[in-house]
Amino acid sequence: MLNYLVRRLLIAFVTLLLVTFVIFGLVRNMPGTPLTTDPAMMDPSKQISPEDLRRLEKLYGLDKPWYESYFIWIGNLARFDLGRSIAQNNRPVIGLIGERVGATLTLSATSLVLTYLLSIPLGLWTTVHSGSVRERTLSTVLYMLYSLPSFVAALFLQILLAVKLGWLPLLGMVSDDYASLSGLGKAWDIFCHALMPVACFTYGSLAYYTRFIHSNMQEVIRQDYIRTARAKGVPPRRVIAHHAFRNALIPLVTLIGLTLPALLSGAVILERIFTWPGMGSLFFESISQRDYPVIMGLTLVFSILTLLGQLLADLLYAVVDPRVSYS
């Protein structure tokens, strides 16, 4: 097993190099550079002269061909230096990302855990009551939720809960007076701010996960060993939870591995609407501004997590299914 782990980590390394190489090349060759829009506001009197433009290009390494710049970036990476943001006034990239990780995790991790907590019982319940009116109604309601895009629902919720009723804050992650709150006060403040974004991030995926579990369970409960268990007189709940569910776990584990990257790629749209200071909006902004160091930093973080997620899923297969082994 250890052998396998080491092998996987090494391969992951190579994959990371490949991914960063491809993204670097792609982004560098798209039209537009970080210097295109900065001074180019609509005021014709504020324009940078060609000589200054050339000097700036030299400073940011934009005059070199992209593969050379990539090599330099890798070299810096080896010394744990992710570089400095061009569009954000030379702030270190690590700092920029670090500022936002907390916010993204608060949103995404909570939402992910909530989704699984809700959809596993729902999925099991629909399996048991499959075909009944209650189950059909629930499924229809879940489909309705799925069909409503998050940016519309977000606006509805904002108007209703924040403006008309005033129950929840409108935007942001913390209130203006956050610094002066007690520890408990701070937790409550973040909780209130996170309610609407988390709800919007979660509701759409409920339908998908519930259906997913339901469909896998349907296949499992028709197996012979389930018939045997029932014939033996095992109570129905135990049949489902103990015998059937375990065998539906493999696809579920795959799904967990797939959703880990979604943790950080974040909800670009929702972050923008709620002014949530997460990594998704940083990514979007940095792409529009062609802020190469930040784009590469985020891609690196994102890729590492994706690869970790797949590794985790693969390791969990061995745990969940005794027939799979990695020796």
Binding site: T15, Y143, A207, T254, L258, S303, T306, R323
Partner: protein, 364 residues
């Protein structure tokens, strides 16, 4: 002697898919969903006849023309109307230039690509704009802020709604199933390499690819965007297929097939795949419907098909700016999307049950 012969006729097996279709037909909900999709296809085909500002057929200066075909392809709207300075307004100009002309008009005189102006049709006022476009007698489902009729947009948008899902999911499912099954079944170095390929594609953010595409290609259409979505979302299906194949290849029927000398391809795609359908049907059926929502999200972020794009998703995201007044821009496309999601999922459910061999045993 003849009496020794058995008189039971050999009925050849109908085949897997024919059997599955028979079972599918027995599920009422799934058939209704199929009929709904069929209905949408019909609407898509007949869209210029249902809502449009060009006559379906007209006789002008002695010749028969079909100007409504111009909605499908610009060239099919004949240049004679151009030469005679119609400026695309048919009702008044047909009469003016040739009093003997006649025309068969679409059911609803509205256009998905522009606002109908005052006096185009029988002294009717033009479409209202801004937030004044509530559903009314003339605009059955209301108008958007620029005055384009919602009913016409939804009818013409059906074409897009039907096909985006199939394009993106078609690509994703084909690549995903292919790669996943090879990786899961063959194992070893193939698995290692293919899994790395899956990880590589997973790590590349779709947003970057879409932006790169838009920047490079001159005429970006919805198909390009959906192709990109398809090419980046096959990884989930691949992983699920791979896991399923890894599990199933241990079973006895595979060993039996191998003993009988079946080739790898035959085992994979004729034997194992049918049993591995369950986990991947859900992502596929959701994915087809999700394509509409993805298109809507893209147009919210600012990348979408070249305007004017009468798709349900664009209608939905345009309603956001005036959400408190223009409820019709959210409700109608939202309802259509909901019904489509429901339909595709019911079909997926039905397909799963129809192809599950264990149901046959249970006397279904």
């Amino acid at each position: 002697m003849d009496t020794d012969r058995t008189t039971i006729k050999d009925s050849p097996s109908r085949g897997f898919w024919a059997e599955a279709w028979l079972r599918f037909r027995q599920r009422k909900m799934a058939m209704m969903a199929l009929y709904y999709i069929g209905f949408l296809c019909l609407i898509a085909l007949l869209s210029p006849a249902i809502a449009g500002t060009k006559p379906i057929v007209c006789r002008y200066k002695g010749t028969l023309y079909f100007p409504a075909m111009g909605y499908f392809n610009r060239r099919w709207e004949k240049p004679v109307f151009q030469r005679d300075r119609f400026y695309r307004i048919y009702p008044t100009n047909l009469q003016k230039n040739d009093p003997n002309s006649w025309a068969v008009w679409p059911l609803v005189y509205q256009d998905p690509y522009r606002r109908v102006r005052d006096g185009e049709w029988d002294d009717r006022p033009g479409n209202p704009t801004g937030t004044d476009g509530q559903p009314s007698r003339r605009n059955l489902l209301g108008t958007n802020q620029q005055g384009f009729d919602v009913f016409a947009q939804m009818v013409h948008g059906t074409r897009i709604a039907l096909t985006v899902g199939f394009v993106s999911m078609g690509i994703a499912a084909t690549i995903g199933v292919f790669v996943g099954s090879l990786a899961g079944y063959l194992g070893g170095w193939t698995d290692v390499l293919l899994s790395r390929l899956i990880e590589l594609v997973m790590c590349i953010p779709a947003l970057v690819l879409i932006l790169a595409l838009i920047a490079i290609i001159d005429e970006v259409t919805t198909w390009h965007l959906m192709a990109i979505i398809g090419c980046t979302s096959w990884t989930g299906i691949a992983r699920l297929t791979r896991a399923e194949f890894m599990k199933l290849k241990q079973l006895e029927f595979v060993a039996a097939a191998q003993a009988m000398g079946a080739s790898h391809w035959r085992i994979m795609f004729r034997h194992i795949l049918r049993n591995a359908l369950a986990p991947i049907l859900v992502p596929i059926s959701f994915g087809i419907a999700a394509a509409i929502l993805i298109e809507s999200g893209l147009s919210f972020l600012g990348f979408g098909a070249p305007p004017p794009n009468p798709s349900w998703g664009t209608l939905l995201s345009s309603g956001r700016a005036t959400i408190e007044q223009t409820w019709w821009l959210i409700v109608f496309p939202g309802a259509a999307i909901f019904l489509t999601v429901l339909a595709y999922n019911l079909i997926g459910e039905g397909l799963q049950e129809a192809t599950d061999p264990r149901l046959r045993q249970a006397g279904q």
